[in-house]
């Protein structure tokens, strides 16, 4: 077995035992990138040289007996909407194609402090708006399980890079499912923490009340180790919560006693592929066989999630993206008539179709005469969605269901139908609206060999419970050990 097929925990013990050095480890992933990246297209930037020098520094410090960080020598890729000082951060947009941030995002500082090796920046839907990574203006990412299919999105590059074993860990952002949906499509573990668990400082803002940074890994334990580094208070993001970060990687192996698993019957109704439904029913039986109690729960307002989400997320995006005016950074048009025309021309040239649509929808939903009908109404239904979860978590520890209604769709299949594309996020969106944590773990394959994801949701700040419940399932199954061959 090659180094690049080991789990994060195996890589950590191999490094500690001296079986291989951080340089050897990093080199083997860079080799995998040079062999397979051309087919996958997961990265927008690969930082090979700096990755090797970070690895060499880790090796030298280990040699001299220094205490190292928890991710010492482990390669990590970052979604390209996370600011890295001195390394381009493009959001996969023409607008920021040449933008080099003057500072690191909080989580980049955390990863550096943990001695992780930063291998590169991954592709995404432009400004994280999309569910297939096809909205990237800078590259096409393919699903390692079937190169004719999308990896999902918006964190498609981060998911594909882990699925193809180009890196053991990666970081994404999730505004309506942008970590969990691509994790499901690519057969890896992806987790959205509770809103406020991870600082958003240096994450390029899309919808500020929904955005959250989270981990991708080949297994639950890897995700736990990475979350442990990402999570924690940061005074530069006042919505990041000041409460202790549990040692997720330690507790993850402990099964939960008396686990109550909630199941929403509506998840298995209209619109779900039968192959997905049967894998998820089988996953629920795994929990039953482990002694968990399976309880029906109702989330009557979740069916409004997609509508609520597109109003709120687009409204917030229209405000956040107002900063791209061609003045301070980003693209400026070369021809214009006056100042206002310069803004409008620069934005027209810099933004792609989907970003323009969302800005337009947001401006419309917030505009005079319509904001009560659209934006305010959406905020009220948002509270009802949250209330449903609060009631459900009085009776269950986690809610289990499909991450997505279908396995990965084909490249080009939904690109002209934004509404159908939005519905790919039907099961993931409510967690962002309610601010609760969610995880997608590999739970099967379709007859065509495409991965299927199980989504588990928990109450706010119950990441520890969520990871332990996910690990209980993973321990009984081998879906996460499968590696795509291409």
């Amino acid at each position: 077995m090659s180094i690049s097929e080991l789990t994060t925990a195996e890589l950590q013990s191999g490094l500690q035992a001296g079986t291989f050095s951080a340089v050897e480890l990093t080199q083997s992933y860079l080799d995998a990138i040079s062999r397979r990246e051309e087919s996958v297209g997961a990265f927008l930037t690969v930082c090979g040289e700096s990755a090797l020098s970070q690895a060499a520094a880790v090796d030298a410090r280990r040699q001299s007996g220094e205490q190292l960080g928890t991710l010492a020598g482990i390669p990590v890729a970052l979604k390209d909407n996370i600011c890295t000082a001195g390394t381009k951060t493009t959001c996969a947009s023409r607008m920021l194609e040449n933008f080099v941030p003057p500072y690191d995002a909080h989580i980049v500082t955390r990863l550096k402090a943990a001695d992780a090796v930063l291998v590169g920046k991954t592709n995404l839907d432009e400004y994280a708006m999309g569910s297939s990574t096809e909205n990237s203006a800078l590259g096409k990412t393919r699903n390692p399980w079937d190169l004719q299919r999308t990896p999902g999105g918006s964190s498609g590059g981060s998911a594909a890079s882990v699925a193809a074993r180009l890196t053991p860990l990666s970081v994404g952002s999730d505004t309506g499912g942008s970590i969990r949906q691509p994790a499901s499509f690519c057969g890896v573990v992806g987790m959205k923490p509770t809103y406020g668990r991870v600082s958003r400082y240096g994450l390029v803002a899309f919808a500020s009340s929904l955005d959250q940074i989270g981990p991708f890994a080949t297994d639950v334990t890897g995700a736990a180790s990475l979350l442990e580094v990402l999570a924690g208070h940061d005074e530069r993001d006042s919505t990041s919560v000041n409460r202790p970060v549990p040692e997720y990687s330690r507790s993850v192996e402990q099964p939960l006693e008396g686990l109550r698993v909630g199941v929403v019957q509506e998840h298995f109704a209209e619109g779900i592929d039968e192959e997905v439904a049967s894998s998820i029913r089988a996953a629920i039986e795994v929990y039953r066989s482990l002694g968990a109690e399976i309880v029906d729960v109702a989330l009557p307002h979740s069916k409004y999630g997609v509508a609520v989400y597109y109003l709120i997320a687009s409204s917030e995006a229209s405000s956040n993206l107002a900063r791209y005016d061609g003045v301070h950074y980003g693209h400026r048009a070369s021809e214009f008539e006056n100042m206002v025309d310069m803004y409008a021309a620069s934005r027209a040239e810099g933004f792609g179709d989907e970003v323009k649509r969302r800005i337009m929808l947001g401006v419309y939903a917030l505009s005079e005469g319509y904001s009560d009908q659209y934006y305010l109404k959406a905020l009220k239904v948002r509270r009802l969605i949250r209330n449903d979860f609060d009631a459900a978590f009085k009776n269950v520890d986690v809610i289990a269901g499909p991450t997505c209604p279908t396995p990965a769709f084909k490249i080009g299949e939904l690109v002209d139908d934004p509404l159908q594309m939005y519905l790919a996020d039907v099961y993931t969106i409510s967690a962002n609206l309610a601010g609760i944590p969610g995880i997608s773990v590999p739970a099967g394959f379709s007859p065509a060999g495409l991965p299927i994801g199980l989504q588990l949701l928990a109450a706010p700040f119950e990441e520890e419970k969520l990871l332990r419940a996910a690990r209980m399932f993973e321990r009984e199954t081998d879906f996460h050990t499968k590696v795509p061959q291409f």
Binding site: Y195, G196, A344, A348, V363, Y364, L379
Partner: protein, 96 residues
């Protein structure tokens, strides 16, 4: 539903210079989404407080103390046009 004129008005507010083709397409695609979100009309939201965010925090203050900030050079580094001291923009006042 959304007319061409509505789209042009919104595009103006959004500072987006759309082509004729984009305006037609935008009207069409936005209409689809807007007609989909009318599903919210069936929800009774009387006596429901709007939820703008889920964070369990109120205003958070810090000391209003002088501290180091981004150096000017770094702040100007990504500017499309700069003279090394300021961001340069086209002339704003006419006949100035």
């Amino acid at each position: 539903m959304l007319t061409r004129e509505d789209v042009e008005k919104v595009a103006g507010l959004a500072r987006l210079k759309l082509t004729e083709e984009e305006i037609s397409e935008m009207a069409d695609k936005l209409c689809q989404v807007i007609s989909y979100v009318t599903v919210l009309d069936e929800v009774d939201v009387s006596n429901v407080e709007p939820m703008a965010h889920v964070a369990d925090v109120a205003n958070i203050f810090r000391e209003d103390a002088v501290r180091e900030s981004l150096p000017r050079e770094a702040a100007l580094d990504n500017a499309p046009k700069s003279d090394g001291k300021y961001f340069l923009v086209p002339q704003i006042l006419e006949n100035a």
